[in-house]
């Protein structure tokens, strides 16, 4: 009720004159703003409630940095690694922005776990908040999906092998496992189609789902209202309310500031590294996932053969269902943690199990001399790669030209003539075409060698009009070579 009073108090503040008044009459911005800022919080603002908007901030940062990274990134097995190396080593602020995006993913998982823990510990899922909790759980899964799909995109050694393991794990699922794996990879093996699939999921599909779910998450939150402190009744809040603005806004902004400073200095002083390009033939490489996937990685190690159904499918499904249905399972009005021993026990158990699995994985790696040695070698290779300057990729046209020189001596001679006579000045190197003249690639499939030779000696009217000179002074052998080269362009 206090909030309603406040809204009424706020009304005279809405400007009715000038530019803001005009905007307001057209758009009703001030009403929108005040309904956003005057959201009543039972029991007043608290630092415990800051994680949701922290997540929103990181998500926004991920969108912006992601869009900018797409300025240079190319999702294909041929170019992905080169373009990420270009971003990391050449482009101004590239290393910083890539780090912001990569570390941002980790920060997202951390803040997400804090947000989830706060909601759970405060019993804030109680009191007609089943859908709110459910949408949060699905958002959690999508964020992990973003981390999984994004990890492959740099296509360096660790990305390739971690994803190979990750997609392999899917094949452990009974009946549909193999199809699931092939679906994710776009084939039996990892390759350029895998990048395309992961890229589409990472950039279009999952973000679209997150947008939609985020909107419903916030809508459901406003519909149910803030839950307030643990002493509050989840159905009918009785405590004195305080509007979201200004104190809660300031608290939320302090987390944002902390994130900016923390992530900013991390990215500036310890930028993310990039390993050497993926080499699928490397049989020595020991893949390790990002830290937040270590517990799952370790867990999967324990399940093999027939029993894997239990570990890979049944237990995770039961756990996921249990988490999603918490608001249905725990219907009590009690929110104080010390009065909810079962809920707290379950939380502690899952937390200890997950942390234990992660630590176990790190411990095993450290104490197996062979593994530790190989991991150290991989780290050294990565550092070595980072020290090298950026090496541009040889363009397809130069490579095609080089291949011709290797395979067919006649065409190789033709290539020499093509360049000596500056055919490439207009038709481009390797016949790729320029604004001055069309591409010659694939012309061998349309015209026979005789037709090509004839056109070279006597260009047709359209060619002559475009500035094509007649090549009528070449010895017959040279003309043959030139025709052989032009016909070989692919």
């Amino acid at each position: 009720m206090a909030a309603a009073d406040k809204n009424r108090n706020a009304l005279p503040e809405v400007p009715t004159t000038g530019f803001r008044g005009w905007l307001n009459r057209r758009m009703g911005l001030d009403a929108l703003l005040s309904s956003a800022l005057d959201e009543p919080i039972p029991g007043g603002a608290r630092l415990a409630y800051i994680f949701g908007s922290g997540l929103l901030f990181i998500f926004l940062s991920q969108i912006i940095t992601g869009v900018f990274l797409a300025l240079y990134y190319v999702p294909s097995a041929d170019h992905a690694h080169t373009t990420v190396a270009y971003i990391t080593k050449s482009v101004t602020a590239g290393s910083f922005l890539r780090s912001l995006h990569g570390y941002g993913a980790s920060a997202m998982v951390v803040v997400l776990l804090l947000h989830l823990s706060q909601t759970y510990l405060y019993g804030a899922y109680k009191g007609r908040r089943e859908l709110l909790w459910f949408s949060g759980c699905v958002l959690f899964a999508f964020v992990l999906g973003m981390a999984f799909t994004g990890y492959l995109l740099p296509w360096d050694q660790k990305a390739y092998f971690a994803t190979a393991v990750g997609t392999n794990a899917a094949s452990e699922v009974p009946l549909v496992g193999e199809s699931l794996k092939r679906m994710m990879r776009g084939g039996t093996d990892m390759g350029t189609l895998t990048i395309s699939r992961f890229y589409v999921a990472h950039v279009f599909l999952i973000p679209a789902c997150i947008f939609a779910l985020l909107a419903s998450h916030i809508f459901l939150f406003r519909k149910a209202g803030a839950a307030g402190p643990v002493s509050e009744n989840p159905f009918t809040p009785k405590q004195k309310t305080e509007p979201f603005y200004p104190r809660q806004v300031l608290m939320d902004l302090s987390l944002t500031a902390l994130l900016i400073i923390g992530l900013g200095s991390l990215c500036f002083f310890v930028p993310m590294s990039l390993g050497p390009a993926a080499n699928p033939a490397d049989s020595q490489y020991i893949p390790r996932p990002e830290w937040y996937y270590l517990p799952i990685f370790q867990w999967l190690k324990y399940w093999h053969g027939a029993a894997s159904v239990i570990g890979v499918l049944i237990i995770p499904t039961v756990l996921a269902l249990a988490i999603i249905t918490i608001p249905f399972l725990d219907r009590g009005i009690e929110r104080r943690p010390w009065k909810r021993p079962v809920a707290m026990g379950a939380y502690a158990f899952v937390l200890i199990a997950v942390a234990g699995l992660g630590l176990q994985s790190a411990y095993l790696d450290k104490h197996d001399p062979e593994v530790a040695q190989q991991l150290a070698k991989q780290k050294a290779e990565e550092e070595e790669y980072m020290r090298k300057p950026f090496e541009p990729e040889l363009s397809a046209a130069s490579m095609a030209a080089a291949n011709v020189a290797l395979s067919d001596p006649l065409a190789a001679k033709g290539k020499e003539i093509f360049e000596q006579r500056s055919c490439n000045a207009c038709h481009g190197d390797g016949g790729v075409g320029t604004v001055a003249a069309p591409a010659l690639i694939g012309i061998g499939a349309k015209l026979s060698a005789d037709q090509l030779a004839h056109l070279l000696k006597q260009p047709n009217a359209k060619m002559a009009a475009g500035g094509m000179p007649a090549v009528d002074d070449l010895p017959t052998d040279d003309l043959k070579a030139l025709v052989a080269y032009v016909a070989s362009l692919k």
């Binding site: 170019h79 602020a93 305080e242 200004p246 950026f390 130069s398 360049e419």
Partner: protein, 185 residues
Amino acid sequence: MTEISDRSNGDQARETLSGNRRSFLGTLLALGSFFVGTLLAVPLIRFALFPLLRRTTELEASPVGPLSEFSSLTEPVAKIIQIEQVDGWRKAVSDKTVYVTKDKSGRLSVLSSICPHLGCTVPWVATKSEFICPCHGAVYTSDGSRISGPSLRGMDTLDTTVQDGQLLVRFQYFRQLSSDKEIIG
């Protein structure tokens, strides 16, 4: 900051908060957010403008041959050089023909073999001691000066440097059908 700390002592202070102070804080926050946002936009803008602030199509000098090879030059000699063009994250390697010759004062110079008329390759015709373009008949002297024909200027000289006894040349394309030598790439 005093505005913020004033407000931390409970509901009553907030209840009596006047509209002015509330909007003052709002302005402060808006300015602060604007400032931080601008700061954060700096790396984004630098990242996006990188190709404009740095030439992405860079051309390194290519070696033509050792200086000693050209010391007793009597007529222009054709050399094939390899040029490497960098285009963002990729590069193209191609062969180009250039002529090493002597200019009027007897110094070494390197000519592009591309005719400044319409871009054909100009051969050196040793029997006539002239460059004669086969396409439209432009004629040039051994130092590349224009004698006759449709071309509006002489053959284009390329920038050269000498490093460790090696003659290096920076290959460039020039606009055709023009009396001025204008670099186009």
